[in-house]
């Protein structure tokens, strides 16, 4: 996959919305070329929501020793998919796929589960001191105008 664009934001919850809107915009630009218009809104919402979840986690679980911390969001694509990687220097974690037990009224634990359900593939790697969570969705739709 060819990296298209990298966004770098301060690790602050007030930027979660910007990250998530830009993810939606980038998905829309990508989809404009490769998707049937009927599926574009859903495709974009998947990126909007997944990036909101992943960026929020990157901010929330930052080590307190990193006041000037930044989160990097990297978009890559090929002809049939758009990948977005969320990159942070937080402690290593386990990218769980399990649904939370809803009957216990949990206030959290939905984020990674949602991402797994919204995206086609989710991969996690730890490189040096860096977490890279990569989320990919196929755009199997036909080439548009």
């Amino acid at each position: 996959m060819n990296p298209i664009i990298t966004l770098t934001l301060q690790a602050n919850l007030r930027y979660a919305r910007i990250a998530s809107i830009l993810a939606c915009n980038i998905a829309e630009i990508f989809a404009d070329c490769t998707c049937n218009s009927a599926d574009i809104a859903e495709f974009c919402h998947a990126y909007e929501l997944s990036v909101s979840e992943a960026f929020t986690n990157s901010v929330r679980y930052a080590k307190p020793s990193q006041p000037e911390k930044q989160v990097t969001i990297r978009f890559s694509s090929d002809d049939s998919a758009l990948a977005v990687s969320i990159i942070d220097t937080n402690p290593q974690f386990n990218p769980v796929t399990k649904a939370p037990d809803i009957s216990s009224y949990p206030e959290g634990g939905y984020g990674l589960f949602l991402i797994h359900r919204l995206m086609d593939t989710v991969s996690y790697t730890r490189e040096d001191d860096t977490n890279i969570l990569t989320m990919t969705k196929q755009a199997t739709m036909t080439h548009g105008t």
Binding site: S52, E53, V59, Y105, G108, Y110, L114
Partner: protein, 107 residues
């Protein structure tokens, strides 16, 4: 996110407008914490453009408190994007969900 309220029957109708995410969810929690625990609620989601799991978590947390206090909490007027989050997480099983605010406040 903006929050406004009105009263119908015994329900406080809390209308949310804008984005319900990790950045705005604390505002909702604080707002609801300022009411008596026994107050029954209808949360009107018509103007919520975007909700993520932090927004969902805030609503579920409020629902748990209301249940403990034997108060009622209902949700009204979810759009498709919001509904999707409730469906994937099965959180819809925890709430009475209405298409209409006055129907919610009557039932």
């Amino acid at each position: 996110m903006n929050i406004s309220e009105k009263t119908i029957n015994n329900y406080t109708i809390v209308s949310l407008q804008g984005i319900l995410n990790a950045s705005s969810a604390p505002k909702l929690k604080t707002y609801i914490a300022g009411m008596p625990d026994e107050q029954s609620l209808v949360i009107d989601l018509e103007n919520v453009e975007f909700l993520d799991s932090s927004g969902l978590g805030a609503l579920v947390g409020i629902a748990r408190k209301k249940k403990t206090s034997s108060a009622i909490m209902k949700l009204a007027r979810m759009n498709e994007r919001v509904k999707k989050v409730f469906e994937i997480t099965q959180a819809y099983t925890l709430f009475d969900i209405y298409d209409d605010v006055s129907a919610a406040a009557e039932a």
